[in-house]
Amino acid sequence: MGKGIVHLLRQARRGQLLEVRATTLHPMETGQRLDSLGRPLARDIVRRIECRWGNDLVFAADLFPAVAANPYVSFFVVATTSAVVTVRWRGDNGFEHQEAVSVEVL
């Protein structure tokens, strides 16, 4: 399963409105917390989420430290043609993860 989960219908009618729910495993360290010696723990968050229907960007979000750990986003997308839908997460310290879902559009 890797570090991400994408909920999306695998089959849809052309033009159907689909809800996408996506989350990834990530602590979203805000940079506000202090360690036991009182030093701030460095900020380490997911910065950007992008969803592509095939090659077309259909959704993006820029995240800030106020997004809860294991960041969750939900959005809608219109089913156009059968394609591989990919959700990509990118963040600090080179964090990068991608989940792909094949959607068949009838």
């Binding site: 409105l17 979000a61 959005f75 156009t80």
Partner: protein, 146 residues
């Protein structure tokens, strides 16, 4: 005029100089940065922010923003931003949308450091901005615990 009078005039003059402008609250600055200075309208139900008014755990607060819109090429929502007034940093998330989304409804979970106002601002394809704000009471604050 004699030096003593000049000094008095200078002294009084300095009292009449306007004080430095009070700092713009961080939330206002963040919203202005998002809108590029364009004024934001509210009311008219153009933006609907949904969030629990009483939150027991500020570490993961579900929020949903719905913006009624035909989401056509001519009339759609471009971006939706969520802000938290009294968090260490007001920006929470910025969504980028377009006609391919079909519906301008987005959700996430956010952290709230204290009881405060949460604000959603939507940018429409015609360049206008509309907002909806709600007050949230937080029992257990995020951001401060180890």
């Amino acid at each position: 005029m004699n030096p003593r009078r000049a000094l008095l005039v200078a002294g009084v003059g300095s009292l009449l100089i306007r004080p430095a402008r009070a700092t713009v609250p961080a939330l206002q600055q963040a919203v202005a940065a998002f809108t590029g200075g364009v004024p934001v309208g509210s009311g008219g139900q153009r933006v609907l922010l949904q969030i629990e008014p009483l939150v027991d755990n500020g570490n993961a607060v579900p929020v949903m923003v719905t913006v009624p819109s035909p989401m056509t090429a001519a009339d759609h929502v471009r971006r939706i931003a969520v802000f938290a007034e009294h968090n260490p940093q007001p920006e929470v998330i910025v969504f980028e949308l377009g006609p391919h989304n079909g519906r301008a409804q987005v959700g996430t979970r956010l952290r709230l450091a204290t009881s405060q106002q949460v604000l959603a601002v939507a940018q429409f394809s015609d360049g206008t901005f509309w907002q909806h704000a709600l007050d949230v009471v937080v029992t257990l604050a995020a951001c401060i615990e180890i």
